[in-house]
Symmetry: C2
Subunit: 398 residues, 2 copies
């Protein structure tokens, strides 16, 4: 396979991340001799149960929660579905959900399903910089709003929402608040106490742990109705044999994420900013999507006029560079990104937008390679474009 | 830890199984350099996507399904919940579920939740040998029965239900049929065409693959409403980034399970039968729970009168032997096994019952060790029992 021969330039860390070698090392005993069922009563099972307990503590430290507030799920999507479902089932009189138009499909598609089931959902618009009008949000909270669900950082643009402020509004209105924080670990400091959220969702594979394991933080004394229902695992809040190896991996990754928070906000941010500046310097007719300041340190989403992102990505791929035009979860869809459209981009500009997401394993040399390849690729495609740009000066992002 | 020093005698393969070394080997590339998101459009993602596709084919072969009928989930519990949920949502006029009193908690607890949500559930009783009265089942199918869900093999007793016959009845009544087949791979030949089921659930960790990955077979042209809702993964039927490594491991384990079907039904069955015969020969006042003939080849559930299973298990554990008193998923519950109580055992006898489940890694030497330890342990506990047995001859199981 070409991927094994060619060096890989990975700029898609918001889609998924390399499992850290330290994480694999922590997992391996539980994929071999330590295969006991953590719920079994004998010592061999208890050893696995103890490993799950220690991992839960580590993940709790990452978000400053009590370990009893940490529920392991199978992915971010399950966490998000579970939080919203629980809020509706535990408050049968409240049949309204308030969310935004730029959420991940785990929220949007689940809410659309709820609409078919007779619930009411409000999808708040966003502003042109991807930000949210908090006053508009406040006005849309109704007495029958069971839960407000707003992502902390957008997966496509990296735009960060004022979650603490929104949580405070929800608290004052007596409404539950959930945040999809999948993109934040290792990039933002997560403190559920300071944030004041009732629910918070994470996905381990975004922080150098394996795919197939997620987390739902449930604030103490919050009523909870399990979504995956079966045995008494997870304090009776999620059936199914505990995914020991992946939970242990998640725990180790949580430790690493805390350690890399500084690197992400210095080295990675500097690299991202250098990359952006160079792109805007070298390529005309391109513009940043989303607010420049209130943004994750690793993400850059850029609209290149007069090209189709799909074509750019295909040529980048030939050069060994991985980037994306939106969420991997919606790859294959012909529609332009719902996030960019909600921000008011024309469909054409949205279709010419590319997300670059860096990470702890990204190097300056890799950025240099991208900066060498990308201008050539854009120029090549524009030369073939029926809507060729007029000769113009380099456009600096607003 | 003692488990690392002491040799382990593992007689709890119905709770979970050792991950086969071949399975770990197949997984490792996807826990290291092949970390791409299978849904990403670039080659690096497509390589992971191709691995998922190949694993789906292997698992489809195990159950003789078309790969498009295979949905990967996070566990058996999610599969079971999903099948029942889908049947209810896609047939809004039908609000009745028919199941049995001896199902796994993934079915029973989910159905109890449905009852609270206004659905009607019938839990069919079983006979004293753990078997089901198929005519009674037929009589309980109503015009508004959305789905019948009956396990193929009971996890506690190993009793096998006539799934093919039940599926035919459901078909003739126009009712969907789901079977929880979690305990069957590598033990029974699984052919969804012959069985005629609409849904079938599996869990990978019961067949020497890791925990945290399951399967739901959905017969072609069966309407399906996703349970975990998000991105377009799994043909739009299950959101969440594909758990590549575990899916690949599941695929490899499916191949191994097909290869070990013969071993399980000859060597393992012979070992189990020898073990049972020796126990009945060496220990008085004990009796087999469940039909001797229509039973998985690896499972033995025995009631030892005048002892508490918990005490027996604790002493077995001291000797390095892992066995259980029921499902690991309900460990810690003070209630006697719902399966054994449904079969008409007195609570005392149910509380004195132990499940031994063998597997491909079980050896004759391990069985010999169990046969050396168990009689001493039972004798020791009976000597301390307030309800000591009368001097009597060895009781042979009915």
């Amino acid at each position: 396979m070409s991927t094994e021969q060619q060096k890989l330039y990975y700029f898609d860390n918001n889609a998924t991340t390399r499992v850290a070698p330290e994480v694999v090392e922590a997992m391996l005993p539980f994929l071999s001799e330590q295969y006991g069922n953590p719920s079994s009563a004998y010592q061999f099972g208890k050893f696995a149960g103890e490993a799950v307990r220690m991992a839960r503590e580590k993940v709790a430290v990452l978000i400053n929660a009590d370990p009893r507030e940490v529920l392991f799920t199978s992915c971010g999507t399950e966490s998000i579905n579970s939080a919203i479902h629980s809020a509706l089932v535990t408050q049968p009189g409240k049949r309204h959900v308030l969310t935004t138009a730029v959420e991940h499909s785990a929220t949007i598609k689940f809410c659309e399903f709820l609409e078919k089931r007779g619930y009411e959902v409000t999808f708040l618009p966003v502003e042109s910089d991807g930000g949210i009008d908090v006053h508009l949000l406040e006005k849309n909270i109704r007495p029958d709003t069971a839960i407000v669900s707003v992502m902390w950082a957008n997966n496509e643009t990296g735009v960060v929402f004022p979650i603490e402020e929104i949580a405070a509004i929800c608290r004052s209105k007596g409404t539950l608040f959930h945040t999809d924080a999948v993109q934040t670990p290792g990039k933002l400091k997560i403190d559920v106490q300071d944030l004041g959220v009732d629910f918070l969702s994470l996905s381990a594979h975004k922080l150098h742990a394996p795919k197939g394991i997620g987390l739902l933080y449930i604030k103490r004394r919050t009523k909870y109705q399990p979504y995956v229902i079966g045995g008494g695992q997870e304090q009776g809040r999620r059936g199914g044999t505990e995914n020991t190896a992946s939970i242990v991996g998640f725990g180790r990754a949580a430790e690493l994420a805390m350690a890399s928070l500084n690197d992400e906000n210095t080295r990675v941010r500097t690299m991202r900013d250098r990359m952006e500046k160079a792109i805007f310097g070298k390529i005309t007719d391109c513009v940043r999507n989303g607010d420049a300041m209130s943004r994750l340190p690793n993400t850059s989403n850029i609209a290149f006029d007069f090209v189709e992102a799909e074509s750019v990505l295909a040529l980048l791929d030939q050069a060994g560079i991985c980037a994306s035009s939106g969420s991997a979860c919606t790859t294959g869809s012909l529609d332009p990104s719902h996030v960019l459209v909600a921000m008011g981009l024309t469909p054409a500009r949205a279709r010419g937008s590319i997300r670059f997401s860096l990470g702890k394993y990204t190097t300056d040399a890799e950025v240099d390679y991208l900066l060498e390849q990308l201008p050539q690729i854009i120029a090549k495609l524009r030369a073939m474009s029926p809507s060729k740009p007029q000769p113009a000066k380099a456009t600096q992002a607003a």
